[in-house]
Symmetry: C2
Subunit: 390 residues, 2 copies
């Protein structure tokens, strides 16, 4: 077990109709001016926004709304939000939505107190020192941003999509009503399952000691999410399955499944480059293409861990370790097929990906590698993996 | 999955020598006056207290010390602490020790703002509304109080030992250096392993839905703790094993292993009565005697869950479910034997326990039962279980 500091302070309000309590929750915290961030209108159409505004009004809380966050959210809208918020002077940023909305709220929360351009945080030019508190009403189980340190934003101009991680942007509360996700489309639900799994698998494939409880938590989470994911593909209003996905979304990315071990990511940085350049690519679709390619490369360097995954998540017990490890990856590919995920760049709608460009973005023109305990990911490794996605 | 609210806001500082940072941590939080609570002198003899005071002095933090907390901590010392603290006016209560010290600190933290007697909280006469922040430097992996809502205090006069649970007493930080536990005696280490297991098992045997991730977390935690517990019995300075026990102590009792399901306890209330009346009984020793008796009674009402425990924690796969379930309980008994735990009241030094008195304390003279999803624990059930501990 490594040395670490850990905090996951977000209060979760979980269950049916919990969003109706938002005004009361804000009141308890003393948040009387709330800057609301939403996406492209679905929370208006569903009536959720009205429910939230009713609750805020009933508690005499002032608000202003920023609308229009798109998937792969842009720094442009964050900049607009920061300017507006500085005029409105809120004491809470309230994100109603999923990862893109929450990450926009996070960027605004830190940009609010910063004199420079708030993409500086994402470019790791500067560490945030102060943030407005962030609250979340979650509408999709996927990104885990509702409890995480992560804030991923896209700059359309430079085609750079990059995240920063800091405890300062962990939300103070997250309201999670699984029924709000009943209406999430099949494809978006499937993306969510992949995203939750990937947040867990990325952590899992970091080095562990012999008896690492975090790996056991990760395996348990994966088993539950895989089962719930299959259930909701057939029955989108299965409460327990939706509830498992929603809560595991949060616990897949708050650091619990890497507590006491390193938590660095290997596949996400590749995908961020892909969906940064090819902006029509959904984050999870990109992950679903890259992970199996990544796994087939790294199986040779980390067969024990792939074998553990096969045993403890998929209950596979082939005597030959490498066969078992391969069978585990095969199970993930079968699951991704059930979830309707793409398998290749072509499936993603990219006929001729510019692999050199992607590799240069990921490695900052060869200046950095992605650290891996068994074999660092340099230009050569990344090129091989990306070519196997063709 | 049930509706719930959950928060575990404690920041964990984990690793070698992290206690040296306490002054800096207090400074970051703005805690400039610290009321320190310690036990019966071991932190003086080990030099830990000096390390802490050096760190506080170096950061210009004023302090006062309350010494003398004993196992099964008394309300008398809490009352003394509250009086002293009101004169000293701290902005943090710092517990250096294990569960008894932390629980004393918690009672002082809420009693500080309360006009009545602070045992009222433990008697559930009143809910705490305000508390001083609590910090912890942990010296033994056992109670989990460093992250929990729980505060168990003993009134010697009435022989009542009772806990209250409230988010308000969750510590703001917990400093956990596994090396501080190297010197914990074999018997105290073993008690800790039992306590951590019991916090997890109590939650596990609550009702679950078909795909409850919390149960998977509990099983993973139990596997790691059992393995680490066996290791430290032979090698008390195995860092990884001590680290697993320390971190799992915290995660066994912060609510993570019951997130999304009920977390009520069945065995602890029985043990609290036993060690309340027979004050020489160590909490974990009492639990080790009562749990197998409780399990052998409840196996008939909850065979599926006992079977799951046997399969997923002890890797037992008897075809006959009841046989498998029994084999699982047998594994726990074998483990408790390895840990040197007592098996009967006689082993606890109680030749003729007053079972009627114990049952009356637990049930408040028959006025209440302990709720269990399959069969509530009333006077009759409790009497049967306690008699089987003879």
């Amino acid at each position: 077990m490594i040395d670490f500091d850990f905090i996951s302070p977000t209060k979760i309000y979980f269950g049916t109709n919990k969003e109706e309590l938002v005004g009361q929750i804000c009141n308890e915290h003393g948040y009387k001016r709330v800057y609301i961030v939403i996406g492209q209108g679905s929370v208006k159409r569903s009536g959720l926004l009205d429910t939230v505004l009713d609750s805020l009004n009933a508690n005499d809380i002032k608000y202003q709304i920023l609308e229009g966050v798109r998937p792969n959210p842009t720094i442009d809208l964050c900049r607009k939000g920061i300017e507006e918020a500085r005029v409105f002077a809120p004491n809470l940023i309230l994100a109603i939505g999923g990862g893109s909305v929450i990450d926009t709220a996070k960027n605004i929360a830190v940009g609010y107190f910063y004199v420079g351009d708030s993409f500086d945080f994402n470019l790791h030019k500067v560490k945030p020192k102060k943030a407005l508190p962030i609250g979340v009403i979650l509408t999709i189980a996927a990104s885990g941003s509702e409890l995480s340190t992560s804030c991923v934003i896209q700059d359309d101009e430079t085609q750079i999509k990059q995240g920063f991680n800091d405890d300062i942007v962990r939300p103070v509360f997250a309201i999670e009503n699984p029924k709000l996700t009943y209406s999430v489309s099949k494809v978006q639900t499937a993306y969510g399952v992949v995203d939750i799994m990937m947040h867990t698998l990325e952590r899992y494939f970091n080095a562990s000691s012999d008896n690492e409880p975090a790996d056991g938590f990760a395996e348990a989470l994966l088993r539950s999410v895989i089962k719930a994911g299959k259930t909701v593909m057939n029955n989108p209003t299965d409460y327990d399955a939706r509830a498992v996905l929603m809560l595991m979304s949060s616990l897949s990315h708050n650091g619990m499944t890497s507590i006491g071990k390193n938590g660095g990511f290997f596949v996400h940085p590749i995908e961020h480059a892909v969906s940064g350049v090819y902006t029509n690519v959904a984050h999870a679709a990109g992950l679903a293409v890259i992970f199996p390619a990544w796994a087939k490369y790294y199986i040779n360097y980390d067969v024990d861990k792939f074998d553990s995954l096969a045993r403890n998540v998929f209950d596979l017990h082939n005597k030959n370790k490498i066969d078992n490890a391969k069978a585990g990856i095969n199970e993930i590919e079968k699951l991704f097929a059930i979830l309707g995920m793409p398998k290749t760049f072509k499936d993603l709608g990219i006929d001729n990906p510019d692999i050199d460009k992607l590799v240069n973005i990921i490695t900052n023109n060869g200046e950095r590698v992605i650290k891996h305990p068994k074999k660092d990911m340099d230009k050569e490794v990344l090129t091989t993996i990306l070519k196997s996605c063709l």
